[in-house]
């Protein structure tokens, strides 16, 4: 499903890369990436999402981010850790925009389950951090994904929303959609079956039992 080769991420004005991955191949499934603050989890996930430029090759289901960016971004989705949106837009306007570009379908169950339908017609300027997070998750599931990248999906969510999200992840996994999740909080393994865990240590990605 995901192939990463010769990946390296170095920020401008810095001497050393924050993360290097020589080769990584992941089959379809749910994966959990752990690591200390600043270890490079978000950099990796943003690189896979196409938000950050990097060296090396990243491909999902045979679509390379460099050679076929449009096709790649149609199947790789991302929900950020601390979402920010323009205050003058409503959640509905953002959802319509994502839906128009990604096509596919709106995650109606998740919208209802997280209660986003209650506030989506208000401007994001009045959203709390929890509401922003819920909107970001809905946007991350909007369309027709093959891989969903969730950066710290559990922070700022209430208990009911955490439960809804975990059940949604399981339901999507059962449909063959893959997940890469970075989280300091563990997912409930009675709901979500994690296929493998990874840890970022010494600026590289290691499988957890290595």
């Amino acid at each position: 499903m995901l192939i990463i080769s010769n990946y390296q991420k170095q920020y401008p004005g810095t001497d050393t890369p924050v993360l290097s991955i020589t080769k990584l191949e992941l089959a379809a499934g749910c994966y959990w990436i752990k690591g200390e603050n600043g270890s490079g989890k978000t950099s990796l996930i943003k690189s896979i999402a196409g938000l950050l430029p990097c060296t090396g090759e990243i491909a999902v289901n045979g679509l390379n981010i460099r050679n076929n960016r449009m096709g790649y971004t149609k199947i790789v989705y991302y929900a950020e850790a601390e979402p920010q949106y323009p205050g003058f837009l409503t959640g509905k306007e953002l959802m319509d925009f994502y839906f128009a570009t990604k096509k596919g379908h709106l995650p109606h169950k998740l919208i209802k389950g997280l209660g986003v339908d209650q506030f989506m017609n208000s401007k994001t300027a009045v959203y709390s951090s929890g509401m922003m997070k819920k909107l970001s998750l809905v946007l991350g599931f909007t369309g027709n994904p093959a891989l969903i990248l969730l950066d710290e999906p559990l922070i700022a969510l209430d208990a009911a929303a955490v439960d809804t999200l975990q059940h949604t992840i399981t339901a999507y996994c059962n449909q063959g959609i893959s997940f890469i999740v970075t989280s300091h909080q563990p997912l409930d393994n009675s709901i979500v079956k994690v296929d493998a865990g990874f840890i970022i240590k010494d600026k590289t990605l290691l499988k957890e039992n290595q």
Binding site: P12, G50, P53, R69, M70, T73, Y85, P86, F88, F97
Partner: protein, 369 residues
């Protein structure tokens, strides 16, 4: 009473005018900026005479006034219903007459821009013998103030929504414009960069006034070719703000299947709209000093120039110093190119360069730390 007025003027009146500064600036430029100063009174007098003589035109104008009044009422009711305005329910303790007086003040001050124009219209109508139109206009203004006063009174005193508030809210939702992708940047400028926008436009129109209005009898093409690019260069500040916005609050767009050309088109459309007042000003105040096709070519080159600034903002990772250096270099190149190669070549060269720079730097953009 004075204390209550102080609070209301700060929380409603002042905030309304701050929040809508961009809207008022746009209206001001639209009504007063594009007409030559000497013809301003004549222009508005003619407009008013047209309103007086044409019932359809007057109806359209009155509808616009109603919409503006709805905007004012919606602002007041949203303040009252917001968390910050919760304490305003204390005003219920005031006697009915004092409350009414307060809300008449608020409604009138918010409605003042329309009221002032309407008063002049009523006077012109009366002096030209159209007494009925004059009374109609005056009565309509009274009705508008009664509506706004009732809506504010109801919002503060009723626990449920009043019929007027519901009507206004329904009107507001019917009239609310959905913001699509191509309007994101222009909305951002008018919403969050009002002051920068106002300063740039004032500078720009001041420059053009000097060239086209003050020196219309002795129009100097050489001066124009120096100062017009300068007004375009002043817009570089807006470009930087927009790229910063797009790469901060809309950074997730990079995870969407948006082709770079579509993103470039969003910028292009924004710069086209932003530069419309300058183009309109030059065309209206030209008086044969410059061929119209040259003005159109110049305006198109200006849009291409702003797209080039956009590409450069990406190329230098939003680093202000490098960006300003690039902008200065572009200004010099623009001066030289226009003088030596002509307007069409300048337009073609800037368009090609702008697209090339944008295409090569958009996906590899990374903010300088």
């Amino acid at each position: 009473m004075k204390a209550a007025w102080n609070i209301l003027s700060k929380i409603m009146v002042k905030q309304f005018y701050i929040a809508n500064a961009g809207f008022f600036l746009f209206l001001f430029l639209f009504f007063f900026g594009i007409v030559q100063a000497g013809q301003l009174i004549w222009y508005h007098h003619s407009l008013m005479l047209a309103m007086i003589s044409s019932p359809l035109f007057l109806f359209i104008v009155m509808t616009a006034w109603l919409l503006y009044n709805c905007k004012c009422i919606l602002f007041c009711t949203s303040v009252i219903q917001s968390g910050n305005g919760g304490f305003l329910y204390m005003l219920r303790a005031l006697p009915f007459s004092k409350q009414l007086l307060l809300y008449v003040f608020v409604g009138t001050v918010l409605y003042l821009p329309v009221l002032a124009y309407a008063c002049i219209l009523a006077t012109v109508a009366y002096t030209t013998g159209a007494a009925i139109v004059s009374v109609q206009v005056a009565a309509y203004q009274l009705l508008m103030i009664i509506i706004s006063t009732t809506a504010i009174y109801s919002a503060i005193n009723k626990t449920g929504e009043s019929a007027v508030t519901k009507l206004v809210a329904t009107l507001g939702s019917l009239l609310s414009i959905r913001i699509g992708y191509h309007a994101f940047l222009i909305t951002y400028i008018l919403h969050s960069r009002k002051v920068t926008f106002a300063v740039v436009k004032l500078f720009s129109l001041l420059m053009l006034s000097m060239l086209f209005v003050r020196n219309s009898d002795s129009f100097d093409t050489d001066l124009f070719s120096i100062f017009y690019p300068l007004t375009i260069t002043a817009h570089a500040a807006l470009v930087l703000h927009c790229v910063d916005f797009n790469e901060t609050l809309l950074q997730c767009n990079r995870n969407l299947p948006l082709h770079w050309l579509k993103v470039a088109c969003m910028y292009l459309l924004t710069w086209f709209i932003i530069l419309l007042p300058e183009a309109a000003f030059m065309l209206i105040n030209n008086h044969g000093n410059m061929p119209v096709d040259i003005i159109i070519l110049q305006s198109m080159a200006a849009v291409a120039c702003l797209l080039l600034f956009t590409g450069m903002a990406y190329a230098c990772g939003l680093d202000m110093e490098r960006y300003l250096l690039f902008v200065f270099m572009v200004y010099i190149i623009l001066l030289i190119l226009q003088k030596s190669a002509g307007h069409l070549v300048t337009l073609a060269a800037f368009s090609a360069l702008a697209l090339a720079v944008f295409q090569s730097h958009y996906y590899s953009f990374e903010r300088e730390k």
